[in-house]
Symmetry: C2
Subunit: 313 residues, 2 copies
Amino acid sequence: MIPSKAQLDSAYSIVKPYVHRTPVLSSSLLNELTGSNLFFKCENFQKMGAFKMRGAVHAISKLNDNEKARGVVTHSSGNFAQALSLAAKSLNTKAYIVMPVNAPEVKKRAVKQYGGIITESEATIQAREAAAEEIIQETGATFIHPSNDTNVILGQGTAAIELLEEQPLLDCIMVPVGGGGLIAGTALAARYYGKNCKVIGGEPMLADDAYRSLKSGKIELNDTANTIADGLRTYLGDKNFPIIKSLVSEIIRVEEEEIRTAMRLIMERMKIIVETSSAVPFAALLKEQSNFAGKNVGIIISGGNVDLSELTF
Amino acid sequence: MIPSKAQLDSAYSIVKPYVHRTPVLSSSLLNELTGSNLFFKCENFQKMGAFKMRGAVHAISKLNDNEKARGVVTHSSGNFAQALSLAAKSLNTKAYIVMPVNAPEVKKRAVKQYGGIITESEATIQAREAAAEEIIQETGATFIHPSNDTNVILGQGTAAIELLEEQPLLDCIMVPVGGGGLIAGTALAARYYGKNCKVIGGEPMLADDAYRSLKSGKIELNDTANTIADGLRTYLGDKNFPIIKSLVSEIIRVEEEEIRTAMRLIMERMKIIVETSSAVPFAALLKEQSNFAGKNVGIIISGGNVDLSELTF
């Protein structure tokens, strides 16, 4: 059930030519502040602005020629919509994107800019799934889930491979937990490329489904998910949960105010623009700072797609 | 009158251990948009958030032991105040900083945080010079000018050395022009380390003293300087002007709206936080885009010290 090292190696060689090798940044100020040695893997500098490009490229690459000719479909209003659109363009196929009618104009524009073909649906999950199903019936396109897909998970793991190539002796890697694709991929990379490197998730208290899932041993949902970390409102799936269950050490939950503080610190001290979701693992580290003292900690900055006009501090 | 390659080499080896080697970032989107190959040297990631650390370290390092024991003094409300404070701390001496009473609290806090000793004065240049003079009389500290000092100029040139080490075939390097220290240092680096690498300045139309100085052949002042690029309101001096006159190809002037557009583009597309002054050379490139088509262009992102609460787009 756990993908092999060979599968991850293969994903890395497939994904590499289509993505940026993003820089790993450090900040002496944040090191002083936390007492840890922090290494930020800046996927906010990735193509289309987030790590999701990696999984999308890998999933499309694994299709056969017939499937590629018919295209891919997903429903997402976030980064995966852009990722699948740009990956499809890079790999000469089509991406059909189901977006809720109320999705922000700026997100629709980004998808169109990358060549994605948008179908609007009502905002409910049922309506979105029905719209995707209709496209599949009409076009024969292959559905690709944003996070609960083994090839997507393997692709997302390549960010941590690059991080570990630069910093082989990390004690742990911290990532945000949303749908579970990034943390599952990172856990595989840490297992196969790290040296006793733990993987720790950061999750908003207001959408702590993964924390509860690890406790109960089965996939839990969120009743509400009003967190400002809008990329983390989703829940785990049957492909990534087994990986998370067996390879992730811990999930640390943080309050909204802690996310805001972490985001401001990253932007002020590191001079980089990050999404709210990206601030969650750093918020988790700040919360349990003493546990990380003296440790070498990798943090994956998952993305940087923020609407600048909505930034308020 | 033009410092030698040996002097610049020496500055580089002196400065190196005290500064970050900042990354050089590219953006495929901005390359597509402009038709040039752009290489952004990210001095916004430098210690204290700006290239000014380089010149401050070099100037202090060149003092003899007696001078070092007595400390250094400058008047600045901007990045050089922080740079001199942090450089003095790194080199075990004291920095006396004259700041206008109306300087923003956040800037005073930053200077104090780096160990600078603040003296407040009235905001006029006369009052600031008088306050600095008084400190010199009392303490025997050495005055260090933020931009019109040969050792400062040589220190600032080290950013372009690093850029040219990574991208030896740049056709030109673009920098903002304020007091003239960065552009003079960059011009020396391009001359000694580049291969026919031009240096081009970007300057706000509202503070275009350097543009007019190059035209008239003598140092011109600004009547008013209300540009949003607040780091560029100053004028050239007798140490940097001869270097600029003999080694800088051109200065391109830009409107306030062009600076704002360039700043937003950099932040949205590159996901980095830059000061308004740092957006000026990119604004200059956008303005005369066709002249740079197909060229390899280095752009020095001079700093990232912005008050996030003042960011409005």
